[in-house]
Symmetry: C2
Subunit: 373 residues, 2 copies
Amino acid sequence: MQSYNITKRTLMGPGPSDVHPRILSALSKPTIGHLDPQFITMMDEIKSMLQYAFQTKNSLTMAVSAPGSAGMETCFVNLIEPGDKVVVCINGVFGNRMKENVERYGGECIVINDTWGEVVNPQKVEDTLKQHSDAKILAFVHAETSTGAQSDAKTLCEIARKYDCLTIVDAVTSLAGSPLKLDEWGIDAIYSGTQKCLSCVPGLSPISLSDKAVECIKNRKTKVVSWFLDLSLVMAYWGDGNANASAPRSYHHTAPINALYGLHEALVLLKEEGLENAWKRHWENHLLLKNQLEEMGMEFVVKEGDRLPQLNSVWIPQGKDDGAIRKRLLNEYNIEIGAGLADFAGKVWRIGLMGYASHPTNVLLVTSALKNM
Amino acid sequence: MQSYNITKRTLMGPGPSDVHPRILSALSKPTIGHLDPQFITMMDEIKSMLQYAFQTKNSLTMAVSAPGSAGMETCFVNLIEPGDKVVVCINGVFGNRMKENVERYGGECIVINDTWGEVVNPQKVEDTLKQHSDAKILAFVHAETSTGAQSDAKTLCEIARKYDCLTIVDAVTSLAGSPLKLDEWGIDAIYSGTQKCLSCVPGLSPISLSDKAVECIKNRKTKVVSWFLDLSLVMAYWGDGNANASAPRSYHHTAPINALYGLHEALVLLKEEGLENAWKRHWENHLLLKNQLEEMGMEFVVKEGDRLPQLNSVWIPQGKDDGAIRKRLLNEYNIEIGAGLADFAGKVWRIGLMGYASHPTNVLLVTSALKNM
């Protein structure tokens, strides 16, 4: 067996997206111990920059030591106790995964279905919460990576508050790519991933929980089912989230040190650019791509106004061979675009313009390659 | 906020251990997609090299996308159903964590306690299994990182088989550092970490399950509580473990691509050296360290014959200030050694000689530094 040589790709699928060279370089810094004072300082800086990225003052803001799916589980496993009623909005693959979480942790799941490619319907949410006034949590996906639809998180959270519901929001694809204001919108628990608009490698899940959510965890009558994801234990390692870097940290698990070097650098890059500028850049490159695709006669899956700028789903034109074209893009041009998932398999392409990959050069590259096929 | 500059350390604690430069360099290769054919081929190579490292033919051999604690949870959450009786041997911190796992997943936990610093007592295991003939699983730690004791996994597995018990074995610190023969010893489920004797970065947990364990998972009456760690889903992504690289893989979660580049390179290094040679090197450097420490009048916590070569626990000599000395080692010489955990806090130092860090140079370095203090 030999060292593995990688042919570089341009990643324009649903994530991972292209990783910024400064982040790749940060990954290979020398590993240090997970209780080294240098590392504790770095964790505090990561927390503070994640608070900026999420636009929150939440003390409990950190990165789960595993991919986005584990961030999802962290929110659900800590907030749900057996028998809790949870309203889950499903308008794509990731809403379904939320339902799996609720059921496996013994919650009672009330499902609101919306058509794939459409946003979560606020009226249906209001009607459901009115009917189920004992619901404890409303869960929905802000940016549905399987369809490219962006739901109105602000409005949905307002409705949830009106019915005294906590909110769990999937922001895996939205963080740093489109407007997301945790405190202003009143989100209680949010999780994201590093491999989308943060341009970092996959493997970590930034999360943030409001004081109300933390209170709910503190008042649990049962132990959290997962030891690894139990926030009452993880918090003792990440600290209380306040600025006191010298507070003692208890060993919980060994953090993925080098991956966190990468996340730190990704967040420094975000601060250098500025969050609003990053949102603007994603939007402008989306418009550029949209114009090019429409000139080529392609149609978006999601209606105008509900689209994610960072994940563009288009119907595969009639007569075009999905698998063959994606294979040619990969083999001839080293470009990766995303296939459709589940109901959308064979029908939809998902073209990502996320983080470092959200650049006019990539728009030109993918559209001119597609024109040849 | 600025890019974070790291002062390099020599890692001689309980892990993470020093990472080989070739592995650090592999981490910064360009990220590719988790369904890219290149990546699928690399996953297959990792599986095959992990089979070598574990000395097994098990099809279900892979790396969990999270640290060792999640590897532990993967074994327990998949094999335990509510009400199952599990015998857990506790002779240090990590046995306790096993107990937490069993209880959180609704198992009935029968505990066998051994004194910290001693190995798991086979006679007690035999007596307990005789008494609890309905026990489904025997769980123990092969290499107790909190004490430096190495239990006789071969004998313990023999006893378990006699009483028709599955075995779950913690090999976080033993893999690649001391003899471990999964198939020959008849271990059913094993988990390890990458940041110990594999000299890789923390964040992944190699696991392997026997056909008997897989059968047990297939016959479950209840769903696995964790969606993220549900092996019936994860297997569909990692493939069936056989050599068919072209079998279709289903998307489950986004794998930590770059961390897996690191693990691949770590395993290539292990194959280059040869597993037996790696075991021998750990042993020889342990003897070197032992001689030096004993010359300095230090005493081992674990009795001769039961010691882990890669993790050397010694009593802190009377009159020596634990915190002050570890701080001086770190600040003056950039050497990290491990503090005692829980009952051993303030009483014990844990000196690691793991993987790349198991080198005569490091033995000289740490002992000559300690002589000055």
